[in-house]
């Protein structure tokens, strides 16, 4: 790709080439993005910006590049979801309860990125403790989607929970961003902001140092503007980590090198249960178009069944809150984080600190989680949900005996208006209907921009793969990307200069 005059138009791959060829310095690249961030404060994509740190890292990157010692992501400016603990940099999980928390440690995934030479621009906004599908539950206010309905000025949500990361990448404030995905929190915001979002297999990336939401579902992944960039970022993020017992000791392939191998002979499964009631026709049309793209590139399309799909969302909204209710017990105002003042008894300290520190949605999920684990309800809810989870995983195992990957829509709808779904949690939860199954089964899934809605808003398709087969997921995602030739872009309306 020709060198653009605006470095924020680069992909990670472009920037890497331009830096190696010394067509641009890491400092220039960082400055361009820091400038874009300054001009985009109205999007509220960042909770904390770290320009000084970015520039000093960029300087070091320039020294390394000059010395010929560039690492795979040398000088690449990234945005980091504010759920990753970053040493010496405020980490909030978008919650008041961690409003002023400065970790003394660095999460494994971000450390891996810094070890590969990447540069942090700042910490991105998210739904509080990653609980939400619209980035409206953040203590630091909602993130605004860079996209607008054609011809209108209404603010739309960027999806969630990685809404700040999605908006930052879609608005060209960063070349890429980290996200975390518990029920769709990478793929859903990626889909509604027109970018690529990859949730790796559970265990591929270490969870150490990531503020936990639901431990058995949480997984970090890249959010980028191209599939190739996702491949590059994932390789740097993934690792076996002895500090995370659930991370897996498997080699991390060079995903980038196999992206162009094509999908001739690949068996792509179409799960009939994903054709849900009341799904907008444009989603269905997009899905059909995706099928056509893959078939025309030589893939074989097979119909498969995932019979327990309809139980996935209810099971998810039992398992995830159950784990969350326990994971969030540590925020008690005793050792760190928000502590209510003027309380003189222990129970009062817990109640007031937590009531003041957690927002509505977090409190709701803690209560649901506490309820489903309670004596007398455990078997009916938690245990049953775990059984459903086993059945869902088995559905996938059986489907993958007939195919290599699955193709589904990423979301049931395009971006919606701020505030339009906050009154009804269940309608909000339905946003995850196509994504939660993947988390429950621990599989890799990618959302790739594939078209626009009638309103001119981006829509994504999802590729689901076998466990630890991110290679095929990325290769198929790349095939979609090539065929879709998604060129639409938001209208940079937020720029203040």
């Amino acid at each position: 790709m020709a060198l653009s005059s605006d470095p924020t138009q680069f992909t990670i791959a472009d920037a890497r080439d331009a830096l190696t060829a010394k067509q641009i310095s890491a400092t220039e690249l960082a400055n361009a993005h820091l400038g874009a961030m300054t001009a985009a404060t109205s999007l509220n994509a960042f909770i904390t910006e770290t320009p000084d740190r970015a520039l000093s890292a960029a300087e070091s990157a320039d020294v390394r590049i000059a010395a010929g010692g560039a690492r795979p992501l040398e000088g690449i400016p990234l945005a980091i979801k504010d759920l990753f603990c970053t040493k010496g940099v405020r980490t909030t999980a978008a919650s008041r309860i961690l409003d002023n928390f400065f970790p003394t440690y660095e999460s494994t995934v971000t450390q891996n990125l810094w070890n590969a030479g990447a540069i942090m621009l700042g910490k991105t906004n998210l739904d509080e403790f990653a609980m939400g599908s619209s980035n409206e539950t953040s203590y630091f206010g909602p993130v605004i989607n860079p996209w607008r309905v054609r011809g209108r000025n209404d603010d739309l949500v960027p999806g969630g929970s990685s809404g700040g990361s999605a908006a930052a990448v879609a608005a060209h404030l960063a070349l890429g961003a980290t996200g975390t995905d518990t029920g769709g929190s990478i793929r859903q915001p990626a889909a509604v902001t027109g970018i690529v979002g990859l949730k790796p297999t559970y265990g591929r990336c270490s969870r150490w140092g990531i503020v936990a939401f639901a431990s058995s579902l949480d997984q970090a992944g890249p959010m980028t503007r191209t599939v190739k960039d996702a491949a590059i970022m994932l390789r740097a993020m993934a690792s076996h980590d002895p500090k995370d017992s659930t991370s897996v000791d498997m080699p991390v392939p060079d995903y980038e090198s196999t992206l162009n191998l094509g999908i001739k002979g690949l068996k792509v499964g179409i799960p009939k249960e994903y054709r849900i009631e009341a799904m907008p026709q444009e989603i269905d049309v997009l899905w059909e178009r995706g099928v056509g793209w893959l078939r025309s590139q030589g893939a074989e399309i097979v119909d498969v069944s995932l019979p327990h799909t309809k139980y996935a969302l209810p099971a998810y909204y039992i398992v995830a809150p159950a784990e969350a209710s326990s994971n969030l017990a540590r925020y008690d105002g005793v050792r760190y984080g928000h502590r209510a003042s003027g309380v003189s008894d222990l129970i009062g300290l817990y109640e007031r600190s937590r009531a003041e520190g957690f927002g509505r949605e977090v409190r709701r999920r803690i209560m649901i989680g506490t309820y489903v684990l309670s004596a007398g309800y455990y078997d009916a809810y938690y245990l049953r949900a775990q059984k459903v989870r086993t059945l869902i995983a088995r559905d996938f195992t059986q489907a993958f005996q007939k195919c290599d990957v699955l193709l589904t829509p990423a979301t049931p709808c395009a971006a919606f208006g701020i505030g339009s779904k906050t009154a009804d949690p269940v309608s909000m939860y339905l946003n995850d209907v196509f994504t939660v199954t993947v988390n429950l089964a621990g599989l890799p899934g990618i959302s790739v921009p594939a078209g626009v809605s009638q309103d001119g808003l981006p829509l994504g398709l999802q590729i689901i793969g076998k466990a630890f087969d991110e290679e095929t997921v990325l290769r198929t995602g790349h095939a979609i990307e090539m065929a879709a030739a998604f060129k639409a872009a938001p209208q940079f309306w937020w720029r203040t200069s």
């Binding site: 990753f84 603990c85 980490t91 999980a93 961690l98 928390f101 970790p103 003394t104 440690y105 999460s107 969870r207 150490w208 140092g209 990531i210 503020v211 936990a212 639901a214 431990s215 058995s216 002895p242 500090k243 995370d244 017992s245 659930t246 159950a322 784990e323 209710s325 326990s326 969030l328 017990a329 540590r330 008690d332 005793v334 050792r335 760190y336 222990l346 817990y350 506490t370 684990l373 309670s374 004596a375 455990y378 938690y382």
Partner: protein
């Protein structure tokens, strides 16, 4: 079916008298034994006792955001070894669960424990009672769990301080069946359990430092009747307190029932200062711990071959040692007393190794050395007489080089001054005198000096002991007492003993 009708004598002797008849006390124990590990169960932090508050706390122990537990393999190994020592079933697949409750010394808001699938299943312990009875106590399970930190309420008038040094330390919770029937049995069970873990080296058994703590479940019933409602007495931290707590709790329950009341299931605390238990929380106030499998940890799984290898490397345990000692000539009682104490056993075996005859060595320990140590209040490991010196003393008695009286004097010298007993015997002239002519001369002299005593003895032969004492005194304790006795009887014309 009533089993009360035909209680054995031993069972009947344990019953407690109430105002309206006899009662049987039923006891089960949950013992928390700290794993003898330098590092905590899920973090690398140190477990050393008595360190500065909060100096041994990792990010995991303090439950910082995003921190994850990683199982300490060594601790698992010790739990399995303990299970093998309890002749228990080792579960090749077990699961860690979260036990959720809020307390400031529990940083994560949950304790990682094992609930439905513990690492060790059913086993048993044989408990020897002084009367010769052996009580078989069933072990229900052993599981691994984290200890909590400590709340310090006495540091400030308005604030409670928290010390997290202990938070995350590995504990083995060993749960018995309700097979104990007296406070003596409860204490003996705990003593035996402590001996087993100390032999294995899996727990140091130090109750003063809290390395072993017992929750004691107590109920009472009429002999042969179904189990009564139990109360759990929490955190009893010495053998003596276990005994006291059981006794006063059983008495409390009997008094309530006999005066027409019923026992409420509850958790109680034992106050050792006033010798009473008092209510801590009732069943209604009990926490709902919301146990569920910890998603941060994989299930614990191991191969039978790994367990077999641990079993092969297990040291000799008290029961096997006891059998071996009995075979070597010790009485059942002496052998039981010895093996109950790991250090005493090691001392005993070192004496045998140095050439002492087993029975004589055991007698010397039981009749001589343990008394001295108790009186001085020092443990055997810090005692001033080495097992080699003790063996020399015992050997000299056996070979009649010194008298038993001389052995006492010799032990006094070695105790206070040290030195080689054989050299001391030579240099201080402690050798037993068996030379009849020397003893005869001494006897003659005493008789000559005490004519009135002679008459007394002739009338009352039992008074001869006075003369033996005088002769021993005159010979500085060196005379062989049997020789003295024989000569004395001959000279006074008394009949031979026998």
């Amino acid at each position: 079916m009533s089993e009360g009708a035909n209680l054995s004598k031993a069972q009947a002797s344990k019953l407690i008298d109430g105002a309206t008849g006899k009662w049987e006390v039923v006891i089960g124990m949950e013992v928390h034994a700290q794993v003898a590990s330098k590092a905590k169960l899920f973090s690398g932090a140190s477990t050393e006792f008595g360190a500065e508050p909060n100096s041994q706390v990792s990010l995991v122990d303090a439950a910082m955001p995003g921190m994850l537990p990683v199982i300490n393999r060594f601790c698992v190994e010790q739990a399995v070894r303990t299970g093998l020592g309890l002749k228990a079933k080792i579960n090749l697949h077990s699961v860690f669960d979260r036990k959720n409750y809020f307390y400031p010394d529990l940083p994560a808001g949950y304790q990682i424990s094992q609930y439905k699938q513990p690492v060790v299943g059913e086993g048993e312990i044989l408990v020897d009672m002084p009367g010769g009875e052996t009580v078989k106590v069933g072990i229900e399970r052993l599981h691994l769990e984290q200890d909590a930190g400590k709340s310090l309420h006495d540091q400030h008038p308005d604030y409670t301080y928290i010390d997290l040094n202990r938070a995350g330390v590995a504990l083995m919770e060993i749960v018995s069946r309700p097979d104990l029937r007296s406070s003596d049995e409860a204490a003996a069970y705990l003593r035996k359990l402590r001996a087993i873990v100390r032999y294995l080296g899996t727990c140091d058994g130090n109750m003063e430092e809290g390395s072993m703590r017992a929750d004691v479940n107590v109920s009472v019933r009429r002999p042969g009747q179904p189990l009564g409602t139990r109360c759990e007495i929490k955190n009893v931290n010495s053998m003596r307190f276990v005994q006291q707590a059981v006794d006063c709790e059983a008495r409390r329950q009997i008094d309530i029932i006999e005066s027409g009341g019923t026992i409420k299931q509850e958790t109680r605390l034992f106050d050792s200062r006033i010798g009473e238990t008092r209510s801590m929380r009732s069943k209604e106030e009990a926490h709902d711990y919301r146990y569920f499998p910890d998603p941060d940890l994989l299930p614990l799984t191991f191969d039978q071959s790994w367990v077999d290898a641990l079993a092969r490397d297990l040291p000799e345990l008290p029961d096997e040692k006891k059998a071996r000692f009995i075979k070597a000539g010790l009485s059942v009682y002496d052998a039981s007393v010895l093996v109950a104490d790991k250090e005493a056993t090691e001392y005993f075996e070192a004496m045998i190794g140095a050439g002492a005859e087993p029975k004589a060595a055991a007698n010397w320990l039981n009749n001589e050395y343990f008394g001295r140590l108790n009186k001085a209040g020092i443990p055997i490991s810090a005692g001033p007489i080495s097992p080699e010196a003790a063996a020399a003393i015992v050997q000299m008695v056996t070979s009649k080089v010194i008298s038993s009286r001389g052995a006492k004097d010799l032990a006094d010298i070695v105790w206070s001054e040290g030195g080689d007993p054989r050299t001391i015997v030579e240099s201080r002239g402690l050798k037993q005198v068996s030379d009849e002519s020397a003893i005869d001369a001494a006897v003659a002299a005493i008789i000559a000096a005490n004519p009135e005593k002679c008459e007394e003895v002739k009338a009352k032969p039992k008074a001869a002991a006075w003369f033996v004492g005088q002769v021993m005194k005159a010979t500085g304790g060196k005379a062989n007492p049997q020789t003295v006795n024989a000569i004395l009887r001959r000279r006074l014309g008394l009949p031979e003993e026998g």
